[in-house]
């Protein structure tokens, strides 16, 4: 029985079909990369897996750890270990990064029948991870994502991932808007989390991130489905030749 499997998935927004007969299988410990031209449905895929109510699924299924997750609300999917690093993380005015992390961590603990973490332990836990990602203390006190630069937002996404320790992390364009130093920090943040039980689904345009985070599989997605799968060499050839051959296929 596969650990994570999407079968014959058709999904889209109210008036537009975006994912069309999409199939993908991921095993524990694997790193998958999905590449493809703009507007091909990569972000939609990430959102459908995470349960964004903006999308509806017309047929197919997504099994995670033997459970059909499509009927589950987003928070339950999250608690089961699915994490989505957003391409454009949204502002939440008035709620500090620290407060948000407290809510998220304690929601996860509640799901696992654990007591909420006390303030000192929480602070300690957050600070260790934040430091590793070069996130200053001051930033933890600022309202979540309000006025953050692209790089800051991606670091905070990475911090949340590090703290929530998901089993399947879907990272949507984590490399966009990052300079080379920030990219290295974020990539390192991903690499330290890699282990035999944790899988990653990296959504990206370029192989920039992939030269720091080695994928086991690279998939080319066009018009809502995977048209070619291969190893990291596929990403390299893409960088050279572009998507043209797939678009015409």
């Amino acid at each position: 029985m596969p650990w994570f499997k999407i079968s014959n998935l058709f999904a889209g927004t109210e008036n537009k079909l975006i994912l069309s007969d999409f199939n993908l299988q991921i095993n524990p410990g694997e790193v998958h990369a999905i590449m493809g031209p703009n507007g091909t449905g990569k972000s939609s895929l990430a959102n459908v897996i995470a349960g964004n109510p903006k999308y509806s699924v017309s047929s197919g299924n997504i099994l995670f750890k033997n459970i059909d997750i499509l009927p589950l609300p987003p928070e339950q999917r999250a608690s089961m270990g699915i994490f989505l690093g957003f391409q454009n993380p949204i502002d939440i005015p008035g709620v500090s990064v620290m407060t948000f992390l407290k809510y998220a961590i304690n929601a996860q603990r509640a799901f696992n029948s654990l007591e909420p973490l006390d303030a000192p332990s929480l602070l300690k836990k957050v600070k260790i991870r934040a430091e590793a990602l070069g996130i200053p203390n001051e930033m933890l006190k600022r309202p979540l994502n309000v006025g953050f630069s692209g790089g800051e937002k991606k670091r905070i996404e990475t911090l949340q991932m590090a703290l929530l320790e998901p089993e399947l992390a879907i990272l949507d364009e984590m490399d966009s808007g990052l300079d080379i130093d920030a990219l290295k920090i974020v990539a390192n943040g991903i690499n330290v989390l890699k282990n035999n039980n944790r899988s990653f689904l990296l959504i990206t345009h370029y192989d920039r991130l992939l030269s720091y985070v080695k994928p086991n599989f690279v998939h080319i997605m066009v018009n809502g489905k995977i048209v070619r799968s291969g190893d990291e060499n596929l990403a390299k050839s893409l960088e050279k030749n572009g998507y043209t051959e797939f678009l015409n296929a």
């Binding site: 995470a50 349960g51 964004n52 109510p53 903006k54 609300p73 987003p74 928070e75 999250a78 608690s79 994490f83 989505l84 957003f86 993380p89 949204i90 502002d91 939440i92 005015p93 008035g94 709620v95 407060t99 948000f100 809510y103 998220a104 929601a107 996860q108 799901f111 309202p143 949340q160 929530l164």
Partner: protein, 484 residues
Amino acid sequence: MPENLNAKLKNLTENTYKYGFSINLENDSAPIGINENIIKLISNKKNEPLWLLDFRLKAFRHWKSLKEPHWAKVTYPNIDYQKIYYYSAPKNLKSPKKLQDLDPELLKMYDKLGVPLHERENLAGITAVDAVLDSVSVTTTFKENLAKLGIIFCSISEAVQKYPDLVKKYLGSVVPYTDNFFACLNSAVFSDGSFVYIPKGVRSPIELSTYFRINAINTGQFERTLIIADDDSYVSYLEGCTAPQRDENQLHAAVVEIVVMNNAEVKYSTVQNWFPGDKNGIGGIYNFVTKRGSCIGEKSKLSWTQVETGSAITWKYPSCILKGKNSVGEFFSVALTNNLQQADTGTKMIHIGENSSSTIIAKSISAGKSLSAYRGMVKMSPQAINAQNFSKCDNLLIGNKCSAYTIPVMQNLNNSARIAHEATTSKISEEQLFYCQQRGISADDAISLIVNGFCKEVMKHLPMEFAVEASRLISVSLEGASVG
């Protein structure tokens, strides 16, 4: 009250409104309705001096000439003022000297509400409490400790007996009985409330607190609070309110008057959680309240902080008259409405003194099919040289069946005075909600997190314990609200 009704109430309340229970107390009530005899009876029961009866009767005669105001953005069926009890007192309560003398049922009720009446439970000395049940003040804790500092904190009935000069001088000095319909009615029939006097140069070491509770059925609550802060004094005063869950509406028409002298500061915080009515808008309190303070001294400061989550209808504008040179007025407000609640609330800042300044931060959160209006007035009188005001009104909408209005009035009669006003309206977006949910936070918790973030600017002005309670209350009041 019949047993089965009591049980029914209990059942109802355990679902949503936590404070909705009522208790079986024998009540000593005046006959239903209002006329001069009722007023004489109230005055007589309280053994009041003639000047006060006179004040009440003048108010009543004036009230009869007034019409209930309907300019507020709220709608409700006509109130039959002859179908209200204007006086109700728990029977076994003839001026209890000690806590032991109180009806055990009553103590149980306050226990359930979490009001720390027992001084022994309150040795840490954070708060002194005056508890007002229906129409009378039940007990005031910590009175003796405060007395050592010269601070007077007692029920207004007691103050009438013991400190008649102070009461006579200031009662009606900020809110005259002619002020408005509800304040006028209150002046005629007010039953009890709190009285505070902080002498010159004294900073109250503890928060003073009044806890209001309507228990009896069909009873109006007309409490009257008078706070006087003498030169160079400071006091922080808290007010909390709850009521049982009942099917009919109950009228609450209070008056709060505050006098702030030279260099004195009064901080007045309210967490108002009167029963808001049920999901279908049945029952709930009509909260028609007049609150006003006069900063008569130089450098005097009055700060109103309110968190309004309860009541079927709220009609309330805590205001400051800034007479003193360099006087300061502040209004920090969170008004949350859900289901079919209606709130029309705001403030008036009347600048008279030179260099007087005021700040208004009003946040409204509307969910369900509720309606929320901010109504405010900033007036710069001709003599208010260099006076300044800053106002900020933010509305947050949850879902698409609620509405919010901002109705600011600005009147500047002095060229050197400045008024600044900002207003925003936003919605909790599906994206914000999804982001939180993706991190494992439930939709309910996410809404409460976002709303508390929205209110933070106001909540930080509340005393610590109150802020925690208020934030929890906001979460509870929003349970089941939907953004869709």
